[in-house]
Amino acid sequence: MIVRLLTEGQYEVSEELQQRLNELDDRAMAALDGGDEPELDRQLEEMWRLVQAEGQRLPDHDLRPSEVVIPPADMTLEETRVLFSEDGLIPDLPARAS
């Protein structure tokens, strides 16, 4: 599976790693829903650490899309909410300007 660490790049991860990420991811989601930012940061940090340590970095020119995208751990709760809001993400995509 291909995973993107948002603002960092793409990695190929194994089935086994995918399972572990899954668990962390569910906890991250629960933390977000509960508004628990420190817990959210911890889970995201751990996911980043795992992917960076055990995933295989994809070359920059690889055009394949990722199956999942992990937001940065230093993202604030507010930023995360904006990410999920109707048109908050990628406010700069040039398509809007045209």
């Binding site: 995973v3 993107r4 948002l6 603002t7 960092e8 790049g9 990420l21 899954n22 991811d25 569910d26 906890r27 991250a28 989601m29 977000l32 995201l44 996911m47 070359p59 920059d60 020119h61 690889d62 055009l63 394949r64 899309p65 990722s66 199956e67 999942v68 995208v69 992990i70 937001p71 990410l83 999920f84 048109d87 993400l89 990628i90 406010p91 700069d92 995509l93 040039p94 398509a95 300007a97 045209s98």
Partner: protein
């Protein structure tokens, strides 16, 4: 995955499909997408330039404050030598305030540095993907029927679109940081202008004036003493000559 990462991915793809699915004709769609990519690349370059400008401004403030520290230290020494402990204390208090500002500026510069590096990495990745997309686009145009092309465009466009979303977020974050820094740098300027933190840089503060008075009065004293001395010697000489 039903968690945060999956949701993020879904959100990004949903937004991209709106973006990508504009043109009917596959070839047109490819060219349109390519134009967007190039524009985004321009945005990254501007973003990097903004961060650098902001960083330079903070560095300028840093060097001003560093000069201030030296000056205030000198003033404190002069004041002490003149037996004016109150003035020396005042100078040292200002020095401490300037030092605090300096430390916070250093942290801010580091943060901007980190944003700059992120953006440069993002630019490199986007560049590589745009190159890959450009050759892919020519292959698709040349080799596939309209129906097949649609599918292949969808894949390539999602791949690069994701990178665009990624880069877009990096730009946004750098911009937020830059704006925050500019506001803070502006606040330091304002503080200096309002005299709250004292305008260290524009010469005459109350402290400067008092020190100037002090030194001018001691100059007067010194001159007086010198003149007295000369007068004394010439009187003595006259006595000897007699």
């Amino acid at each position: 995955m039903a968690g945060l990462a999956q949701r993020t991915s879904t959100v990004i793809k949903a937004k991209l499909s709106k973006l990508i699915g504009r043109a009917e004709d596959p070839a047109e769609q490819l060219d349109y997408s390519y134009e967007q990519q190039l524009r985004l690349l321009q945005n990254v370059k501007r973003g990097i330039a903004d961060v650098v400008t902001s960083k330079k401004r903070l560095q300028l403030q840093t060097s001003k404050l560093e000069q201030e520290l030296v000056k205030l230290e000198d003033q404190a020494r002069q004041a002490l030598a003149a037996g004016r402990e109150d003035l020396a204390r005042q100078a040292l208090e200002r020095k401490s305030a300037a030092q605090q500002q300096l430390r916070s500026l250093d942290t801010q510069i580091e943060q901007l540095e980190a944003q700059q590096e992120k953006l440069i990495a993002s630019e490199r990745q986007l560049n590589a993907k745009i190159e890959a997309f450009r050759s892919e686009k020519e292959v698709i145009k040349a080799q596939y029927s309209a129906a097949e092309a649609q599918v292949r465009i969808g894949e390539a466009a999602t791949g690069i679109g994701e990178q665009m979303a990624d880069t877009g977020l990096a730009i946004q974050r750098a911009r937020d940081k830059t704006e925050e820094m500019q506001a803070r740098a502006g606040a330091v300027d304002e503080l200096i202008a309002a005299g709250t933190l004292d305008d260290f840089t524009s010469g005459q503060t109350q402290l400067d004036r008092e020190l100037a008075q002090l030194s001018s009065s001691s100059d007067v004293e010194a001159d007086l003493a010198r003149l007295k001395g000369e007068l004394g010697t010439s009187e003595q000489q006259k006595q000897i000559e007699k």
